[in-house]
Symmetry: C2
Subunit: 398 residues, 2 copies
């Protein structure tokens, strides 16, 4: 299996990204389209926020049938908290795509990201759809990735290729994130396509596993958005034979690799992020305990500002772990930052802090906490909390 953080060609899909004038910045791309040649296997994972944007309501209902032909995504407006007019707008948006592609409107899934509480201009949107349909290309995934960006500073794509069911198959994806990334994929959109011939149920199983270890294992600020969506589509153009159990697991693994690459890029480009920090907890009494501790550490503003300041702050990390409610014995735990053991058996390791501080000056490092109580493990990727996080979020407005 070959995994790249760039697109690969996936037979049976075409992509486009154009400027429809929905964003304030003139000329910025803000409308993306993915189209298959006909209805293909599809699966989705959506936000668990109780407030769901209109496109989430519609896309989740449509993908539940297991078939889609196209996905249309706009940035600039989340079409959330927009009541019935928002639902109508999302339905009309799908109909506009169906009219251009000459397909059934029910085979189109809508996604939106951007400011909450505002409707986008449908005339502009429809013009954009027309231009996007005209620009569709097998090589358009990068342009698509660009069109779905909000405060992202760069487009995010990834791909994997592997031999499966007697054929060379490809999986490629694009994602946007940046702010509001967390516990369950907050304001994160990701789209994964493959030419593998798989059933909707197989695609759903692979996507679920891939999301759990990637998009649901990253956090930038602990918030969960109203619009989070991950969609997968499989064209079957690779014409592989039906996958056996082992091949299904290889397929899921490849999809996981694409999702993980995208997730990593999301954290790397988190709002104002200057650090990419892997939080690894082991030795917890249970897996759930490990996860609670990892999330608490990863989301603590005090820990994250210490990351920004390259400060191996044992106190804040241990205090966050202790605040999680999970079982923990300070007299037993061991803590490493950047590979340097800085706490052990209830005490700081004398003289280790300076070495840890050096390691924290790098762009990426790990925080490893071993509780020595059991076999529960969890890992999360997170970022630091910088001046720019505050700047971006104090100025990005309603």
């Amino acid at each position: 299996m070959k995994v790249l953080s760039e697109p690969a060609r996936v037979r049976g899909f075409r992509f486009a990204g154009v400027s429809a004038g929905l964003k304030t910045a003139a000329g910025a791309k803000d409308l993306g389209l993915i189209a298959a040649e006909n209805q293909v296997s599809a699966a989705g994972v959506f936000t668990t926020n109780r407030v769901k944007a209109a496109p989430v309501v519609i896309a989740s209902e449509r993908v539940s049938r297991g078939r889609l032909q196209a996905v249309v995504v706009n940035s600039g407006s989340a079409n959330c908290f927009t009541g019935k007019p928002g639902l109508r707008l999302a339905l009309n948006s799908c109909a506009a795509v169906a009219a251009e592609l000459g397909c059934d409107g029910a085979g189109v899934a809508p996604c939106s990201t951007g400011v909450i509480g505002h409707l986008y201009d449908f005339e502009k949107y429809r013009d954009g759809v027309r231009r996007a349909a005209g620009a569709l290309s097998e090589d358009g995934l990068e342009e698509f990735a660009r069109a779905i960006m909000t405060t992202d500073t760069r487009p995010k794509t990834a791909s994997a290729t592997l031999r499966l069911g007697g054929r060379e198959i490809a999986i490629a994806g694009a994602a946007k994130g940046s702010g509001m990334l967390s516990p369950h994929m907050a304001t994160m959109l990701a789209f994964i396509v493959t030419d593998a011939a798989v059933t909707p149920a197989q695609l759903r199983a692979a996507l679920k596993g891939a999301s759990a270890s990637s998009f649901n294992a990253i956090t930038v600020d602990g918030d969960m958005s109203t619009n989070d969506t991950v969609l997968a589509m499989a064209s079957g153009a690779a014409e592989n034979r039906a996958l056996g159990e082992r091949e299904r697991s290889l397929f899921a693994e490849a999809m996981g690799a694409v999702a993980s690459s995208l997730a990593r890029q999301l954290v790397y480009d988190g709002e104002g992020a200057t650090k990419l920090v892997a939080i690894r907890v082991r030795g917890a009494r249970t897996r759930a305990d490990a996860e609670r501790i990892a999330r608490r550490i990863a989301n603590s503003p005090l820990v994250k500002t210490a990351f920004f300041g390259c400060d191996p702050n044992v106190g804040r990390i241990i205090a966050a772990a202790g605040a999680s409610g999970a079982a923990l014995d300070p007299e037993r735990l061991e803590l490493k930052v950047g590979g340097v053991k800085i706490a052990s058996r209830g005490m700081l390791v004398v003289g280790a802090l300076q070495a840890a501080q050096e390691r924290m000056r790098e762009r990426e490092f790990a925080v490893e906490l071993d509780l020595k109580l059991g076999s529960g493990e969890a890992a999360l990727l997170t970022s630091d909390l910088s001046f720019d996080y505050v700047k971006i979020n104090a100025e990005y407005t309603t």
Copy 2:
């Protein structure tokens, strides 16, 4: 009842605050002492963090007997994550106080706040205790309040006086907080003394109620510290008659007023805080739901940066509420910021945002969310998330 955000004289107690050289800044006060004339009724509330500092372990054990004679508090070191040497240090510190006061060491409760993982210098501490014992004064509460500060920018005191059980009684308190304030009183220390004659059980009940509606209803950054302590002592010097049921409730109310004044000062002086925001949730299905929503809103970095930017960001507030997991119907809720209705029945209120933005320029305002689902209510005080929060916490070091 008269409530002031300044000290009142409380018969039967003397206070001191001196510089023992435990803080880096030369001459900064860092050792505070409260002494009664003999063992008096005492009660305490402590951190629920699984990692508890050595002084917390000892103070909670001692106060559980319901009697204390003195409280000694140092800033500059939290004496947490210091293993057995930390416990010995805390015990020796109490013994030093007992020697100076000529009392039983078991009647002294220790508290520490500051950097985690380091022991303070015991020689300096003992010298400080000697000077503090010599400086004890009935008017020393303000100096005591100054000695317990860490990143606080000003000392925090409050008092209440009322007629009870045939006598004029006084309640006074001091607190420190600033960073790491939350869900359950993170790195917050508060001390409340009264001359009322009450039993340990009555004092405990009053303190518990007072803490729930004050120290446990504020949040600056969602973190919970290893050292949080609230201690109350009652000298009985007012010689009031035993309190009946109605009088006990008046007493609890007065203690609640002192605690609330201190709590409010803590948020007002939260690290880098430029806003004091009351989050009020009503109409939730249950009280627990209301509390979950209020905490989620109050702790959301995206909401807090919007407060800093004076941005009436409906989307972030609603998304945080929706992410709490509590029951919520976006089509029914109503949201006011600064008294201006900005969202209603699933939509923004057209033209209201500018008025709300004006109100948010003030130092204090309220966010009121009515879910219209039931009768659950909760209120929290919080602050914004500013550049200075990041600056203070990226630079304050291990």
